[in-house]
Each structure stands twice: as structure tokens, then as C-alpha cells.
Symmetry: C2
Subunit: 332 residues, 2 copies
């Protein structure tokens, strides 16, 4: 019998929801404005609306549950989301309790960190499929991370594991948004990478970046511009991405030493420009891994886009079904 | 009924074996010369001899199994030890297969990395008892590490997890024995710490170190001397240990960010001088942990000495018994 779940990606601008069929992937999806300025209760109603839209596509009771991926702090029980940084005024909401009456049925609801669900999506639908264990790194506004061990999220003591972005590679280096010196985010986070690129390319007037930017000081430079310029053959942009990839390789060496997990999947908005970062990361990483752990180290590009998060969120439900397969079905 | 196992600590100079009673600890122990220069087969016979001595103390069949802790590479099945760095000529030996005929009975035999068994010993008999999850750091010739998660060793993909000593805190820093730049071992490993201390204290002729050392250049300085001098009130020695503790705090911040495991147990030969390292580590660590993970971070001194390894090695057997509790007993 086909299994379905709804995976939700709760962003500050859009709520995306997908109807996911187990083993197959996204059957259909929808995107609605978050309208975060109207408060948490309104946002919850928007989420419920998106879920109901997805549920309407299949027979009643065909949906086994709902998974929601969001940035912020998730509790161990995976029902409560606190301080999502992209939704002002949202302190702490029991998402499961808030959604249940709006869905008109008591189905399993799980909330999980966005980096974690992206990794779980990769594990079951993306580049992570061949690997039981891998490290996920997501390059975006910040640098997200997650640990997949035995095809499941490694959650640590309280559910907060995987914060690779705040691991230091230089204890006297530049300070990231969390106040950590030399954290990898202070090199590869969007704001930091853009600022470094502007510094590196400002005087290289032959760089394509100067055609893309409308600011002579390059203050509007974005990682996307860098990626596009690199793909278009720009040497300066490629050098900046190689600088970033070298830093990524350093931190991944530390991660591999600590975990003996040797596969790394890199996602986020890098897409076609990925190898301009991953190539240098691959050359660097082994120099930061101790000899006994160097075999089989691999850094792979995730080709799933934003749907990785929705797929992973939905997979939380399928995983729950597996764990409870021997129990009688829940009454709805 | 009382459960017993024999825990063995396979060192380059001595083989130590203890009869361990579950929940109580070491009942008796023995230490014999390893005689490593006579080859692996001889060493295996020495290990068997020590085990048989321990077994003689209790009724026949009272020993549920044997655990062996050793430096080197351990396979996933925990039966084979390869390249123990302190036993020349030992390539790869199936310790379980080699010991079984010498023990005259088919009992469970496990080999595990020495840092891992020390951590498991701490988890069940030492400073780790109150904590389900913790990071173990062992300061010695190198810097050993292990991860305890749900009171068990987290082994990674192949059994090699926990190599905190080779995690970098400065990607352009000094090179450790594994060739990793800025690895924590390149600051706190015995050779590195001694060399740094000699550099720092050579011209501080008022330091007690100059009375302990027989070399005006302090080339014979050891961490033990530093510890003793610090305990005796020497300012110079305390400054060096504070420098080391600061570095330790940096790497522990990275570990906590990645694992969301917030308890750290530090063992090794530091004993009474521990707080001269751990105090500064405690002050530093939070600056390298992201805000959401800073609560409840604790760095604790292990008070078990070398017996931690033997206790943990023995515990591998008790853990095995628990896992197989529902199966009929093995015939011997």
C-alpha cells in the first residue's frame, strides 16, 4: 500500500508544503506566503491551510502524518518550535498541539530543524541514498549542518547536534554571527563570503562581478553572483570560491576525525558552481584527517534543491510508521 | 548473581589485567611485562597468562568474558587489533581467535581502542556515571578522545570515532604527529606541551622547573614536572597549563557544537594539576559554543586512574551480556 505524508518547509517568506509518496518523492506541492508579520497564530493557520490543500489530493486518511522543517530550536519530543529566527514574535509554540485541531484529525505531527530534515531528505531521496552515515553541510545565509547515522538524524543530548557552521578552524579568526572566532560560518556564511569576495575583487576590474554588481564598491555582491561568474569562467570568482572551499575542507577534516563518518554531502544554493568550492575542499580535507581515517573520504554535491527539506520532513512520518509497525494502528 | 569479566590494558611496557565485578569494580589485578620485542605471539601468550591468573581467583565459569583495550586500529567486529603503535612488529592479529585456545574455553573476547574503553570505564565506574552522554579527552603522549552516547561508545562508520586530538583549532597552526596543522595534539600532546613549556620557561630562571630539570635548556621537561610545579605554586608552570587549557577549550567548543553533548570528562595523567588546565578550558569553552548550546556545559576531571581502561574493557562484556540477556546461555 502506498504511504503518504505531508512535508512542510516553514520559511520566513514562504511556507512550502509537499505531498510526498514514500520511495517516490514529491507528488505535488504548494507555496503560500508566510505572512510572518501577522503573528504565530496566523502562521500556524497558514501552515494548516497548506497541509489541507495537499491532503485534498488523496483519499481521506491516506496521509499518515505531517513533518515540519524550520530553523530555530526544536525540543526533544519534536513537537515544539522556539525562536525561529525568520519569524518575528514567535517565542515557543507547540506546533503539534496547535495544528491538530486545525487538521480535523489526530495524525502524527513532527517538527525538526531545517538542516536536519534536509539531511534526512538527502539520505532517502538524494545524494545521501548510497550512504548509511554522512555529514550534511548546507551553504546558505549561514552554514547549516547535520549528522546522519544509520540513515537517521543524530540529535545529540537535546536535539541540537550538527552545528558545523559554528565549529572553529582558527581560534583567533573572524567572528561569526554567534560570536565564535574563526567559525566556518565566518568564512562561508552569505554575508561573510560576500564581504570577502568584494574585498578580493574590488580592484580586479576585469572580473565579471563588476558587470553584475550595480555598486562600484561591490557592496551588493552575493554568493549567487560569485557562482554565476565562476560558471561563466571568471578567474577572480573562482579564486574566491577556492578560498572558501579550502576553509570548508579544514572543518570537514575535524568532523571526520571526531565522527569517523567519511561521506559529506554539500547542499544549499550552490548547484552548478558547487565544484568550484568542493574541488578545493576535496584537495584540502585529507590534510586535516588523521592517516587511519583517510580512506573513502568523499565530498559530494547534493542535487536536490529546496525539496530536500520537505522530503526529509515527510520522512520523519515514515520513520515513525516503521518504528510503530508492530503496534495496532492509531484511532483517528 | 555476581557477574565477572577480565579487563586487559595492553601497553607497550606492561600488560595489566583486572578481575572486575560488575557494579563494584576491580576485585584484583595483575601487571606483567609485555616483552613486546619477542613478537605478537609471545605477547598474546602473556595476555592469556594474565587473564588465567585473574580467572583463577573465582570459581570456574564465573568469568563471562574478556575485554582488551589497546591503542591501534580495531575492526568493526571488535576482534582484531592492527598496528598498535607501542608493539613493534604487530601488524594485524585476530585477538579473539588467538586467545581462545589459550584460555581453554570459548568465552566472549572483545578488543577496543584504549581511549574508548577508558571512556566506557568512566561512564560506568568514574566521573561519567551521572551522564548518559559525554566527551572523554585523555591527555597523555597524544590527546585521546572518545564519545559516549547513551552510555555506549559511539563508534562512527568503521569504529574509529573520537579522534579529538587531531581536530584543528588553527588551520595554519603547528603540525601534530599525524600531519594535521593546528590539531589540539600539537599543543597538548606530551612532546608539544613539553617543548612549549621549555620555550616559555627557559628564561624564567625563578621557575621551580629549573630545579626539577637537569638540563639548563629544559630539554628534559615533562608534563609531569609542569603539573608538580603548578601544584607547588609555580606561576610560570601555571601560565603554561593555562595556555594549554585555553586551547583545549577552543576544540571542546567545536565538539559541543557538532554533537550537542555538553559534558566533558578529562582524564590521563593530569590528576591534582587538572584544574590548572580545566579552569582556563572552562572559561574559554563557552566563547566557542553557539548560544543555543551553552547551557549545562561542564568540564569535569576523571579521578579514576589507569584502571578506567580495564574497567571499560570489562564492561564491553557486561554490555554484551545485556544485549543477549534474552537468548539462551552459550555453551562453553
Amino acid at each position: 500500500m502506498k504511504q503518504y505524508a505531508v512535508g512542510v518547509d516553514l520559511g520566513g517568506t514562504y511556507i512550502k508544503a509537499a505531498l510526498v509518496e514514500r520511495g517516490r518523492g514529491v507528488v505535488q506541492d504548494v507555496s503560500v506566503a508566510t505572512e510572518a508579520d501577522q503573528g504565530p497564530e496566523h502562521v500556524i493557520a497558514r501552515i494548516a491551510g497548506a497541509i489541507l490543500q495537499m491532503r485534498a489530493a488523496v483519499p481521506e486518511d491516506a496521509i499518515a502524518g505531517v513533518g515540519v522543517g524550520a530553523p530555530g530550536v526544536i525540543n526533544w519530543a519534536r513537537d515544539t518550535l522556539s525562536y525561529p529566527p525568520n519569524i518575528p514574535g514567535w517565542v515557543s509554540v507547540d506546533v503539534k498541539a496547535a495544528l491538530t485541531p486545525l487538521l480535523g484529525a489526530e495524525i502524527p505531527v513532527f517538527v525538526e530543524n531545517d538542516a536536519n530534515v534536509a539531511a534526512l531528505g538527502s539520505a532517502h531521496y538524494g545524494a545521501g541514498i548510497p550512504h548509511d552515515h554522512f555529514i550534511m553541510v548546507t551553504l546558505g545565509t549561514g552554514v547549516g549542518g547535520a549528522i546522519i547515522y544509520n540513515d537517521r538524524i543524530f540529535r545529540g543530548a537535546t536535539g541540537g547536534a550538527g552545528e558545523i557552521g559554528h565549529m572553529t578552524i582558527d581560534y583567533e579568526g573572524p567572528i561569526d554571527r554567534s560570536g565564535v572566532a574563526g567559525a566556518i560560518e565566518a568564512y562561508l556564511g552569505q554575508r561573510f563570503l560576500s564581504a570577502h569576495a568584494a574585498d578580493m575583487l574590488r580592484t580586479r576590474t576585469d572580473s565579471l562581478i563588476h558587470e553584475m554588481s550595480t555598486d562600484p564598491d561591490l557592496d551588493d555582491l552575493t554568493p549567487k553572483m560569485l557562482y554565476d561568474a565562476a560558471v561563466a569562467g571568471d578567474e577572480g570568482a573562482r579564486e574566491v570560491l577556492a578560498w572558501a572551499g579550502h576553509k570548508l575542507g579544514c572543518v570537514l577534516g575535524s568532523v571526520i576525525n571526531l565522527l569517523d563518518i567519511r561521506k559529506v554531502v554539500v547542499g544549499g544554493g550552490v548547484a552548478a558552481a558547487g565544484d568550484y568550492i568542493l574541488g578545493p575542499a576535496r584537495r584540502t580535507v585529507l590534510r586535516y584527517v588523521m592517516p587511519g581515517l583517510r580512506d573513502d573520504v568523499e565530498i559530494i554535491l547534493e542535487t536536490l534543491g529546496n525539496e530536500a527539506g520537505m522530503l526529509g520532513a515527510a520522512h520523519l512520518v515514515f520513520q515513525y510508521l516503521d518504528e510503530h509497525a508492530s503496534l495496532p494502528p492509531r484511532s483517528s
